[in-house]
Amino acid sequence: MTTAHADAAVLEGDLVAFFDRFLTSADGAAAAAAAAALDAPAVLELRCTDPDVVLHVDVGARTVARGPAEAPGAVAEIAARDLDDLLLERLGPVEISRLLEEGRAHLEGPPPALAALLILAGRLQPHYPATLRERGRDDVLAAPGPEIGVIWEAEGPPPSLVGQRRPWQRARPSRATD
């Protein structure tokens, strides 16, 4: 539990306000227009941990709601403190990658949806510090970020990858066995 997000209800309020601010802005309108071109549902399910909050954002319909989505196009899971560091631009590329490499952030969804999420994130990000300022969350804004530009080392061995098919790889036609 972090000091900045000790209360799940407060975090949920911050996040709903953040997505509301985005969705009702020109950025949200542009994202909705872009979402119309997507094959996948333009619904992001955000699972925040420590404290636990689940929201889903329908970019096409420009709505945010509490709880999991029925059919999310993409799912993002991340600790609240890491989400702060990410959206308050306290992380460099190596630190952002580290979130994924250490399993502290997790993304699920087909590649086009994740690519769309990446573009969405670019439009979304400025609304986070703006929302926190509007809500007087100076404690979150002032919390120090991690040291960046460092050389890090994982504690354990990396996961086994060799010979394993990746989720984005096309399946090979199965060979008849009899």
Partner: protein, 416 residues
């Protein structure tokens, strides 16, 4: 029966087409590793740190080169020096970690040294005879810089760093490396011999199997090799730089759109915009120029079957949050590729312990860089192996034939 020279089987070069790969005992022998550490590693240039770490007077960092404790420091006179990090009194460290100091002080008994290594003060030495502090100085080693990096060799006779890196240096200009920022890196400890890990870098032959993501980013038909004196170069072209785009695994899980979202850095020529230049620097460094920045990785042999690999990233300053995420995708992809290499190297290291495998064959059109590495390594090691042989078996013995019980003296699969 394999012919032995020193603690390992001999390797004779008959060209990449007709030669067997380095015998397995080169990857497992404790005696060879100790010999490499006492001799070979002292004679080559090691990338030990970054220029930004020693940008101003008083800035320093410590490192280890071939078991030698070294401190690299910028003196008051602006000169960059590499010195022994071993106190002249009782061998304590005169500096630890990195930072900025006016002088170095050994934490053991408090001897103090100037930034240029001269002994400033040795407390409590009254009554010690024939002790002249003014004449004492930490031994100095050769140091040089290349691009954003600092290099050290312990050998006064080694070629200059400029000569060592001559084939790579011209690339610095187009990539505007001076404008890139150090973004951090990641370190791995891999349970394999350092040569196993370096071998793996030397060819793209394994890419379709070990790196399915990278395989979709590089075109097998645009993969070329070039050999230099102390370096070699592999070039991998992206398959569709302006079409559907490369598929980059990692954060995006593979997307067709990556290159559309993340254009190459400005100032690059056509081949640089549309491909990757992978340079290996004999024996323990790689310098990789990509359309998105510079990636270097350094290799530190820790033990006969333990190696440390450190990735270092220099990237342009991101101008937007989206660009930073795309850079993160690139970093993530690079780390994924190395994690795949890590794993296959550990598997192959176990294979090197086999009683029925002695050595393999080069894929003649795809593993010439590997052959180049083995040729450079064995030629540098030969005098040391001969000296070892003379010391352990007597000069009259010369190179002697020993059986290892496996009967694999001939190159497997070769015409005899």
């Amino acid at each position: 029966m394999p012919t032995m020279l020193g603690p390992v089987s001999t390797w004779e070069d008959h060209g990449v087409e007709r030669t067997g790969t380095l015998p397995n005992d080169w990857y497992t022998s404790t005696e060879l590793f100790e010999l490499e550490r006492r001799t070979f590693f002292r004679e080559v240039w090691h990338c030990v740190g970054r220029v930004e770490q020693v940008a101003e007077p008083g800035r320093f960092f410590t490192c280890e080169v071939a078991n030698e404790q070294v401190v690299v420091a910028r003196g008051r006179d602006g000169e960059l020096r590499a010195m022994s990090n071993v106190c002249l009194h009782r061998a304590g460290p005169v500096a630890m970690g990195c930072g900025q100091r006016n002088a170095f002080q050994c934490p053991y008994h408090g001897w103090t040294f100037e930034l240029d290594g001269r002994l400033r003060r040795a407390r409590g030495m009254e009554g010690t005879e024939e002790f002249e502090p003014a004449k004492l100085r930490l031994p100095q080693f050769r140091v040089g810089t290349w691009g954003p990096t600092v290099w050290v060799t312990l050998d006064d006779a080694a070629p200059s760093l400029d000569e060592w890196l001559a084939d790579v240096t011209p690339r610095l200009a187009n990539y505007r490396v001076d404008r890139l920022q150090f973004a951090g890196g990641r370190r791995w400890r891999i349970r394999c011999n350092w040569k196993m890990y370096v071998d793996n870098y030397m060819e793209g032959y394994h890419i379709p199997f070990v790196h399915p993501g990278l395989a979709q980013s590089l075109s097998p038909s645009i993969y070329t090799y070039r050999l230099g004196d102390y370096t070699n170069e592999q070039y991998g072209g992206e398959p569709h730089p302006r079409g559907p785009g490369s598929r980059v695994a990692g954060i995006l899980g593979g997307t067709q759109e990556f290159r559309k979202l993340k254009p190459p850095m400005p100032g690059l020529d056509e081949s640089e915009r549309t491909g990757y230049y992978f340079h290996w620097v004999f024996p323990l460094t790689t310098i990789n120029f990509t359309p998105d920045g510079l990636l270097m990785f350094t290799v530190r042999p820790v033990g006969p079957e333990l190696t440390e690999s450190t990735f270092l990233w220099w990237l342009p300053e991101a101008t937007s949050f989206e660009e930073r995420l795309l850079q993160a995708a690139i970093v993530n992809f690079g780390h994924l590729v190395n994690t795949e290499d890590y794993e296959i190297c550990e598997h192959a290291q176990k294979g090197m312990q086999s009683s029925v495998y002695h050595r393999g064959r080069y894929a003649a059109t795809q593993e010439m860089c590997l052959h180049h590495f083995h040729r450079l390594l064995t030629s540098h090691m030969r005098p040391h192996l001969e000296a070892w042989e003379a010391e352990h078996r007597g000069p009259a013995n010369g190179a002697v034939v020993h059986g290892n019980g496996h009967g694999h003296a001939a190159v497997p699969g070769s015409a005899r």
